[in-house]
């Protein structure tokens, strides 16, 4: 089944709020070889004006994952996960993510393109704080390889 072009513009329900934990930030920071005290030491983060340790720039992928799972599970999407390759990734921030943040993510499909039999699906997961203020948008383009 090819990727459904009617996915463009489709918005999914918000996923359950994600509470950013200090130890999760540190664990993720270690995994991406982050050594900045801002990622590990609450006192250093506080001295730099942050409420708690700062998440590395790619941390929101942890929050985004649940929204992409919604897209892949959509019955009429036509996205065969075994053929999916990650094409592009972007994070656009209004402010840094820090431990203690509660982020609610909502996915919208913004583009479906076909190129040489491959389909490219772009999805934006917008993350807001409990007051509804924008924090970060994670944008992924997934390349769905053509049938062999």
């Amino acid at each position: 089944m090819p990727v459904n072009p009617d996915l463009v513009g489709r918005a999914f329900p918000p996923v359950a709020p994600y509470l950013v934990g200090r130890e999760k930030v540190r664990e993720f920071a270690r995994a991406v070889f982050a050594t900045s005290p801002l990622n590990h030491d609450p006192a250093a983060a506080l001295a730099a004006g942050y409420a708690d340790v700062v998440a590395p720039p790619t941390f929101p992928v942890v929050v985004q994952e649940a929204t992409l799972a919604q897209l892949l599970a959509e019955p009429d999407a036509g996205i065969d996960f075994s053929r999916v390759v990650h094409g592009d990734q972007r994070f656009s921030y209004s402010r840094p993510v820090v431990a203690g943040d509660e982020l609610t993510a909502t996915l919208v499909v913004t583009s479906v393109k076909t190129l040489g039999g491959n389909a490219m699906v772009t999805a934006e997961s917008t993350m807001v704080d409990p007051g509804g203020a924008h924090v970060v948008t994670a944008i992924s383009t997934l390349v769905v390889r053509a049938d062999d």
Partner: protein, 134 residues
């Protein structure tokens, strides 16, 4: 930060990835796709072997910029294109090299362009970090 010059190298780093690095990232990120730790499964889908998560490569590539920036500002935008896989052997290391250069300078902000190399080839395309100075 007015002294920044387009083309200036602000940071460089070499990172050695091992299979342990991939397992650690899998746990931290929640991405347990077995192509990132099992050679048999990687080969069954046509890959030459286990490869690093693209998001791990993206995650390590920005770190020299973070350390250069310190507490003078923050990353307001970061994008990459995944162009080549980073193959990580069962024994030994995969060496990933990052060179961060000033791509553009604006009022209170700058674009830093990353060249990320593994095995003499670029693995990330259009790797751009936008930093906002505090």
């Amino acid at each position: 930060m007015t002294e920044l010059t387009v083309g200036e190298v602000v940071a460089e780093r070499t990172t050695h990835l091992t299979r342990d690095s991939l397992v650690r990232y899998a746990g931290a990120s929640g991405d347990f796709n077995p192509i990132h730790y099992r050679d048999d499964i990687a080969r069954s889908v046509g890959l030459p072997g286990v490869l690093a998560h693209g998001m791990l490569t993206m995650g390590i590539a920005v770190q020299p910029v973070i350390d250069w920036l310190g507490d003078r500002g923050w990353v307001s935008d970061y994008q990459v294109r995944f162009t080549r896989p980073v193959l990580v052997p069962a024994e030994g290391v995969a060496t990933v090299t990052v060179v961060a250069k000033v791509g553009a300078v604006e009022e209170g902000a700058a674009r830093i362009d990353l060249t990320v190399t593994f095995d003499d080839a670029t693995v990330l395309g259009k790797a751009q970090v936008r930093v906002a100075f505090a």
